[in-house]
Structure formats: structure tokens, C-alpha cells
């Protein structure tokens, strides 16, 4: 029997991601030139040897399904176990509205959770960017006697909002809700290793009480009742992607080689759906500075501080500065784009000028032709 099973929450999409999520869930947001956000949690699990993973989703998950496929990219296409997509099933009320919280999402797939044949369950969010080495907290959890091990960070990582205060023994004594304070405690990355029986008990209780929020209801209650929560501190980069700004900033953070090497270390690769594609070609007049460029692009214009996904065609004379350009976009001759997030399959005819600012990057929705 395998000891660990993974569950990834991909049901929640923050409306502050605006146009970026009109065609997808947050977990399937394209990131850093070739990835989708969910790749981080899937790869963390895979790199720690967890290949039995359920992905909890609720709506607009077509692009997510397309990305996950059979789970091959993460070695999760197993004959026994492997990757399972978990859209709502069972009770009809879960087909309406949004899940009121993580505990409702878990209850919506309770038959799956009950059937998990592992002692410990690793819970992670599908919309964060971090390369967490799960093997260390997994071993720690096995030895410490804790019922829950919270994976935290020692700095105020963008987007996270719960802080745990620890006692002398290192176990959690208190939780600061909606408060981020890396001086007083550690900030939760909302990734947990939890004993299956504890999780099932929490699910049961939340259903009975109709209280479905994970931290504010379930964890708070459980801590009050004397639950033993250990902490593992992840020292590296982490960001939760819940707004257009945080999406833009996290992408731009990857231009910093130190951060990028930490998020994409050779020892723990981030796996993603592989597209068979050709190299990127730089033309005779191309100019490129401080940018990340995926394969299958033809760059004949100028790019600076940009993240360019595959299939881009940047015509001669075009100038892109501080832009994120998703897959399959064409920028015509002498166009100029600054601080623009261009969603997939957009075309800018020659001479188009779009200028936004770092404070308020502009989003051009998928499939736009200008």
C-alpha cells in the first residue's frame, strides 16, 4: 500500500483574474512561457513519488482537462491509481453555484476521498507557483506524530493570508486568520499533509454544521479541540495567483535568474504537457533582451522584459516591452505593445499601438484581432 495520496484543489477561480479566467480556471492559467499553474502542485507530488492524485474541479474545466490529458506528463497515467479528475458528482446541489469552501469541495467528492487507500493525504492548491520539495515534510509527518503538517514559508509570500504561531515544541498553537505576519509566525502555503481519518472526520463535521471554509471553520475548530499540527518551512519562492497583478508580477519574477533557478531546479523539474515543437528562430534584425521565450516562435522584431509563449510571430519593426504573450499570437510590423498581457491566439495588425502601465497591465482577451 502506498502511504500518500494527493488531492489538488482546482475548483476555485478568483474573479480578480478578470479576462484571464473567462475561458479557463485559475489552475490552467498559462505561466512562464510553457507551463500551466497546476503543473507546480502536480510536479511537486510526482517528484515526491506521489502518482495517485485527484484533481477537484467544479466548472469551466475544459482547458484544464485538455492540459491534464491522461496524466502522462507527470507519469500519472497508471493502470492502478494515477491521475483522476474529480468534477462534482453525487449530490445535485453541487452542480449549482460555487463551492462555499474547500470542505464543501471535499464533500462533493466524498466517495472518492473515502476510497483513498493511503494513510496520509497531501492537499495542495492548483493556482500557486512554488517548487516545494514534498519529500521532506512527508518524512517529517511520518515521524512527528502530528495529525496535520502545514507547509509554510518564512516570508510574506504574495497572495497567502494565514499565519501559524508555533509553541516551544514547534507545533502550532494558534492561527492568525487573514493576517500575514512572518515576524510572529510562519505563513501558510495552504499545502497540508493530513491523516486520512482526520480529514474524513473534518468533512463529516463540516457537513453536519454546514460550515465549509477550510481555515476559518475546519482548521480553527480542530486546533481549538487540541489537534496536533506540525510545520514544515519551505524557504523558496512562492506566490498565489489570484489577481491580474499577481499573475503579471509572478511571471515577471521568473526573469530573475536566481528566482527562476529556484522555481525550476534541475533536481525537481516542473513537468508539463509536452508539445512537439520546433526551435525558436531569431531573424537578422531581431533584438531581444531580458526575456523568456518558448519554442516555435519567429522573432524578427524587438522584445524586452517579455515572456513569450510558443507560436509567437513578432514581425520586423514590432516592439514589445514588459509584455506577456500567450500561445499562438501574431504581432504585425511596427506594432508597439507595452505592459500588455496578450491571451492566446491574438493578432495585432501592423502599426497597432497599445500602452499600459506596470501598475495596471492591460489584458487582451483570447482570440482578439486588432
Amino acid at each position: 500500500m502506498k502511504d500518500f495520496h494527493g488531492l489538488i484543489f482546482a475548483y476555485y477561480t478568483d474573479p480578480n483574474l478578470r479576462e484571464l479566467v473567462s475561458v479557463r480556471t485559475a489552475a490552467s492559467l498559462p505561466f512562464c512561457g510553457r507551463y500551466r499553474l497546476i503543473d507546480f502542485s502536480l510536479s511537486a507530488m510526482r517528484n515526491a513519488g506521489i502518482v495517485d492524485v485527484g484533481v477537484i474541479m467544479q466548472r469551466d474545466y475544459q482547458s484544464l482537462l485538455d492540459h491534464l490529458g491522461g496524466g502522462k506528463a507527470w507519469d500519472m497515467n497508471r493502470r492502478v491509481g494515477g491521475l483522476r479528475m474529480l468534477p462534482p458528482f453525487g449530490l445535485p446541489e453541487y452542480h449549482r453555484g460555487n463551492y462555499a469552501g474547500t470542505m464543501e469541495a471535499l464533500n462533493a467528492v466524498s466517495s472518492y476521498v473515502k476510497d483513498i487507500n493511503a494513510k496520509y493525504i497531501v492537499l495542495m492548491l492548483g493556482d500557486m507557483c512554488a517548487n516545494i520539495d514534498l519529500s521532506v515534510p512527508m518524512e517529517q509527518h511520518r515521524r512527528s506524530g502530528a495529525e496535520i503538517t502545514a507547509i509554510c514559508t518564512d516570508h510574506n509570500a504574495d497572495g497567502f493570508r494565514m499565519t501559524y504561531l508555533r509553541g516551544e515544541d514547534g507545533f502550532v498553537e494558534n492561527m492568525l486568520i487573514d493576517t500575514v505576519n512572518d515576524k510572529a509566525g510562519v505563513v501558510s502555503l495552504e499545502a497540508y499533509i493530513i491523516n486520512k481519518d482526520v480529514l474524513l472526520a473534518m468533512m463529516e463535521e463540516s457537513r453536519e454544521q454546514g460550515l465549509y471554509r477550510f481555515h476559518k471553520d475546519a482548521i480553527a475548530q480542530w486546533l481549538k479541540e487540541g489537534g496536533r499540527m506540525d510545520v514544515y518551512v519551505h524557504h523558496g519562492y512562492a506566490a498565489l495567483i489570484r489577481t491580474v497583478d499577481s499573475y503579471y508580477k509572478a511571471n515577471m519574477d521568473m526573469l530573475d535568474p536566481a528566482i527562476r533557478h529556484e522555481v525550476f531546479p534541475a533536481a525537481r523539474p516542473v513537468f508539463t504537457k509536452v508539445r512537439e515543437e520546433v526551435s525558436t528562430y531569431y531573424g537578422v534584425g531581431a533584438f531581444s533582451r531580458n526575456s523568456l521565450v518558448a519554442d516555435n516562435c519567429i522573432i524578427e522584431g524587438s522584445i524586452e522584459n517579455c515572456i513569450i509563449f510558443s507560436g509567437a510571430r513578432i514581425a520586423p519593426g514590432a516592439q514589445l516591452k514588459n509584455c506577456i504573450v500567450m500561445r499562438g499570437c501574431t504581432v504585425g510590423e511596427h506594432s508597439s505593445l507595452e505592459h500588455v498581457i496578450v491571451d492566446k491566439d491574438c493578432t495585432f495588425s501592423p502599426g497597432t499601438v497599445l500602452t499600459a502601465s506596470e501598475k495596471l497591465p492591460m489584458v487582451v482577451p483570447k482570440g482578439t484581432n486588432i
Binding site: C32, G33, R34, K72, M254, L255, P257, R260, F264, P269, V270, F271, T272, V274, E276, E277, V278, S279, T280, Y281, Y282, G283, V284, G285, A286, F287, S288, R289, N290, S291, L292, V293, A294, D295, N296, I298, I307, I308, F309
Partner: protein
């Protein structure tokens, strides 16, 4: 399981004229054109032509090739009723095992494999050519003309014709003569080493050839000439398009440089993808000092120097102040600050330390050539490697 056509890919050659690049790997697994290995071209052509059963005959240094091909998944060749099979030489009961003694012998030794699929036709390919070709079209002509064998031919110049096997064609369009490297060529149709045979016919000829002690067990030298001598119908398939044999350092470098000209061979065509087993690396980065001009660059590269007219494979690193001109850098190669690499091929994971200088621009002299460093070499700081030099793995430079 009956198949109309299966492919047999000859990938056992040592590729001795690539010297340091094939010191430890077989020629078909030499990196090419940034993302690829040479064998990706015939394998992708098979997949794109609807040929889903491919036997890959290996012999020389097959380890890397075996793991590269794996289940065949990158080429969609992981199918239930076919797929890609690695076929090494093997021992049979009561006999000593024997190496493949020629291209025809390699197929002869795998008659059992071929019979499993009971094919009407067998396509014979080699693992050292760069081209895009629809084998289904060739197969159509082969069947239309009821040929015992169809040989793919390419029009070359009369001067070049002296270096190829040349097919002379009669008025009826069938091949009536074959000359290996003729001094006075009668035609300009060169064999590309790509054959489709009627399997029943080929089987007879393979067995007869095996029993001939004077035969060198080669398709070009023995099988084709004896078919012609027996009056079999041999049809030429006229191929038009890009085709290069990359058996030498110069031709390998030339063909890599051709990848910079999409008019010669278009790798961006979504209808004919050339697939490869890709490492999973982040997109490449161009740094704050980088200049990249007329070059191809792929995933995992980190460039902060000057790159011009060059082909970069995955995870190549070019540091600030380094210059790379007219060169081919294989996966994981590193060029440190201030180093210069020009008109050179740098093998996998070779490190050119700071200030070293590899290769030189053509100066018109006869002994000029492309400088080549094999894989896993450390070129020490400040070292100089002359044009045309060949540095083997294990050498100290």
C-alpha cells in the same frame, strides 16, 4: 496481424567519419538542428506517412539510441498493433551470435520479425539523412507500377553524380542500370538509400544473397544489382525537396546551417511535424546583455552573450561577453565569459572555459575546416583550438 507496409530503419552504422561525435553514440542519435537527433527525421516521416510499425536495427553503441526511442511515444509510435522495436543482433540456438555483416544481412537476420506482420511491402530506411518525405506517396507509386522494388532518387549535378549510386532509367520509366559511383555518369539520378520492396521478392533475394559467399550483403552492391540482372521491375521514385546525408563533419555542419533557412526545409509546417523526445526545461532566456541574430534557440538555453548564425540545442549556456558565430552547440554545452566559438561544432555538455577560442573563419586555405569538440570535454580557460581540429572526449585541451 497483416500490414501493407512496415519500415526497417538501419541505425547500426558507426558513423566513423563523425569521429569525436560518434565516439560513444551511434550516428542516428547525434543531436541535430537544435531540438532533434538525426533519427527523428525518418521516425517522424514514418509517423506522418501512416507507417506505424518500425524495426530499428542497432549495432554500434546502441545504449543512448535505445533510451531515446523508448516506447516510441514522442512519434506516436506507441500503438497496440505495431510500434517501434529496437532490433539488436542476437544469438540463435546452436550457433554463435553474429554481428550484422551488411545492410542486407541485418534485414536477413530479422526475417522473423518482419514475418510477424506478414507485410506486402517493406520500406528500408537509413538513420543518417535529413529530409521530409511522404513514404505513403512512394508506396502508392510502388504499387501502381507493380514494382519488385522502388528506389527513391534525387536529381544531382553531374559532378556530384560521381559520388553516388546512380540509376539509369529506360524509356518505359523503369530502372535498367545501376552504377555505384560511376566515373562517367550516364544519368543524374542518385539513389537516396530509401527502398520499398515487395516483401515476398525481397525475402527470396535476401536468402539467396546470404548463401552467396562472395556477396558483401549490401543492398546497393548486391541486392539491387541481382534484381536488375534477373529482370525484376525496379521503379524510380523521383523525390523533390531537401535531402542531406550528414555522414561527415562538414555535411553535418552545413545541414545544421541550412536549418536557419526555412526556405530550404520548413520545420514550422504543422502538417508535417518532426518530433523529438524533448527534455522538459523552462523557455530559453535571453539576458540583459544578450544579442541573438539569425539563429535558432530552444528550451532551457540561457544566453547572455552574442550569438549569430548558430544552432543551439536545449540547455546551452552562453555567458556574458562570449561570442558564438556560425556554430552548432549540442545539448548542455557551455561557453563561458569572453570565450569565442566560431565555425565549430561543440558536443554535449562540453564546457568552453573563459577566454578560450575555438575555430576560425574560412581563410581560403585548403586545410581550413570546421573545428569539432566531442561531448563532455573541458576546454581550459584561454586555450586555442584551431580551425579543422578534432578534439576527442578524454583529451586534455
Amino acid at each position: 496481424m497483416k500490414k501493407n507496409c512496415i519500415a526497417m530503419l538501419l541505425a547500426g552504422g558507426q558513423g566513423s567519419r563523425l569521429y569525436a561525435l560518434t565516439q560513444n553514440v551511434a550516428k542516428p542519435s547525434v543531436p541535430f538542428g537544435g531540438k532533434y537527433r538525426i533519427i527523428d527525421f525518418p521516425l517522424s516521416n514514418c509517423a506522418n506517412s501512416g507507417i506505424d510499425t518500425v524495426g530499428v536495427l542497432t549495432q554500434y553503441r546502441p545504449l543512448q539510441l535505445n533510451s531515446y526511442i523508448g516506447s516510441g511515444q514522442p512519434w506516436d509510435l506507441d500503438v497496440n498493433d505495431g510500434g517501434v522495436y529496437i532490433l539488436p543482433p542476437y544469438q540463435t540456438s546452436g550457433e554463435k551470435g553474429s554481428w550484422f555483416s551488411g545492410t542486407a544481412n541485418a534485414i536477413y537476420q530479422n526475417i522473423g520479425f518482419i514475418e510477424n506482420y506478414d507485410p506486402e511491402n517493406v520500406l528500408i530506411l537509413s538513420g543518417d539523412h535529413i529530409y521530409k518525405m511522404d513514404y505513403a506517396d512512394m508506396l502508392r507509386e510502388h504499387m501502381e507500377h507493380d514494382a519488385a522494388a522502388t528506389i527513391s532518387v534525387l536529381q544531382v549535378s553531374m559532378e556530384e553524380a560521381t559520388r553516388f549510386g546512380i540509376m539509369n532509367v529506360g524509356e518505359d520509366g523503369y530502372i535498367n542500370e545501376f552504377e555505384e559511383k560511376p566515373k562517367q555518369p550516364k544519368s543524374d539520378l542518385a539513389s537516396m538509400g530509401i527502398y520499398i520492396f515487395n516483401w515476398k521478392k525481397l525475402r527470396e533475394y535476401l536468402i539467396a544473397d546470404e548463401n552467396d559467399p562472395n556477396s558483401s550483403k549490401d543492398f546497393g552492391k548486391n541486392i539491387i544489382p541481382s534484381m536488375l540482372a534477373n529482370g525484376e521491375k525496379l521503379w524510380p521514385y523521383h523525390f523533390q525537396g531537401y535531402w542531406r546525408d550528414v555522414g561527415t563533419i562538414t555535411s553535418l555542419w552545413d545541414a545544421n546551417m541550412d536549418m536557419l533557412s526555412p526556405t530550404l526545409i520548413n520545420l514550422y509546417d504543422p502538417d508535417w511535424p518532426i518530433s523529438a523526445r524533448s527534455p522538459i526545461c523552462p523557455p530559453h532566456q535571453v539576458g540583459t546583455h544578450a544579442e541573438v541574430i539569425h539563429s535558432i534557440v530552444t528550451e532551457g538555453c540561457e544566453i547572455d552573450g552574442h550569438v549569430e548564425n548558430s544552432v543551439l540545442s536545449p540547455s546551452v549556456r552562453i555567458d556574458v561577453g562570449a561570442k558564438v558565430l556560425y556554430s552548432v552547440l549540442m545539448p548542455g554545452a557551455v561557453v563561458e565569459p569572453g570565450a569565442v566559438v566560431e565555425y565549430a561544432i561543440i558536443g554535449e555538455n562540453t564546457v568552453v572555459h573563459a577566454g578560450a577560442h575555438i575555430g576560425a573563419a574560412p581563410d581560403g586555405s585548403e586545410d581550413w575546416g570546421v573545428a569539432t569538440c566531442g561531448p563532455d570535454i573541458e576546454i581550459r580557460a584561454g586555450a586555442k583550438v584551431a580551425a579543422g581540429a578534432m578534439i576527442f572526449t578524454g583529451e586534455e585541451v
